[in-house]
Symmetry: C2
């Protein structure tokens, strides 16, 4: 099974068999992604400027997780801004957008093509554009353009868990920090960035066994662990 | 405004204005409640027997939070068991029940009337029977009977945030640990237990100001703070 189809089967298991809700999973994963940011870039170690985080959210579920991540980053006293390259028809996406808007998280109306402007304005970027099953070539025009810009940035790039797109093609965005739900073997060999986190502490033991997930030991109430 | 109607107005604001979902709020609050348990009763300080937690879940939203709390307690390596005194027709309640069942968290078919049996079998009890707006007198027979039993226990009692019922009447259950979302003034004066935690870090700043919530300073990524 490829990494992407394995991720899809894992999600189906959680939704259909365990009756997790999409809203619930997105909230758990957005929270875990934000916690991973705090571990890779602890607030006390950052200058005011470095606390500014650009979260780029695609129209699918990955983007919804990005929106939840941005909200938690705000709660953790980072300074997120959001850019959504494409409109989403998803009600969950819309509700999470409203939460962010009403918490005064700025939304950019466009992404500067001049990457120096982004490098100068933000401390890091969270790439929540594509889900694990979506290849760059299949992405719509605005998402592909946004990813092409992200590729050229010098500031740290922080993806959610699109582990499978991490090193599959020359075109893929190369992250500095990786967050995996399932620690897929296919990505670990490609990843050469600084931090690799595993979220997915909430994944029930039986599901871990079924999918052969070798998840690390988590400490205390931590929802992510460093590999 | 009474504590209960204030809590209801706060929830309406979050649901209607901020477009939080019920599933999302229940997940956030269940997680925060479980984290509060870990702070009041840290796992390394407990014997194996003390790690057993009886979570008593009512049929309304408070019970749904209890179910989410039980699931997180299991993830945090406590040993929760669940008792639901009354059937719930709520789909969210049912889904959260399935998550717990499939994670092999035991459900009791009845609550022993002999309190010594409960005192002997569990290290602590989480009371998620009634919501903040529900008075004991209005509760249905099975819930009232369960609460009458909980009142007579000697092991530590850990309610969610039914702060308003904390000391309003002689009949109310007197908790050892209190978890408030909104730190209502009405409860603080009555509470004489060991720990008082405030959850609600996720509550947006504007909502805190609107409702005059004086929430404490949270540390790092903590979702609860001790008062």
């Amino acid at each position: 099974m490829s990494g992407a189809s394995e991720a899809a089967a894992l999600e189906r298991e959680l939704l259909d068999e365990y009756r997790f809700g999409r809203q619930q999973l997105v909230e758990i994963c957005g929270h875990a992604s934000a916690v991973a940011v705090t571990k890779a870039f602890p607030l006390p170690s950052l200058s005011r400027k470095q606390r500014t985080v650009l979260v780029v959210c695609g129209p699918e579920q990955n983007g919804a997780v990005g929106l939840a991540c941005a909200r938690h980053l705000r709660v953790f006293e980072y300074q997120p801004s959001i850019f959504c390259p494409a409109h989403s028809a998803d009600a969950l996406h819309r509700d999470l957008t409203t939460q962010c808007e009403k918490m005064d998280i700025p939304f950019l109306s466009f992404l500067p093509a001049e990457v120096r402007l982004i490098d100068d304005a933000y401390g890091l970027v969270v790439d929540a554009v594509l889900g694990p099953g979506v290849r760059l070539a299949e992405a719509g025009g605005p998402c592909a353009r946004a990813l092409a810009t992200l590729k050229r940035l010098s500031i740290p790039l922080f993806p959610r868990w699109d582990a499978e797109t991490g090193g599959d093609t020359k075109d893929a965005v190369q992250p500095d920090v990786l967050v995996s739900l399932a620690a897929p073997k296919s990505c670990a060999s490609h990843f050469s960035g600084r931090h690799h986190f595993v979220a997915g502490r909430f994944v029930p033991d039986d599901v871990r066994r079924k999918f052969g997930l070798h998840l690390p030991k988590y400490t205390g109430t931590d929802c992510v662990a460093s590999l």
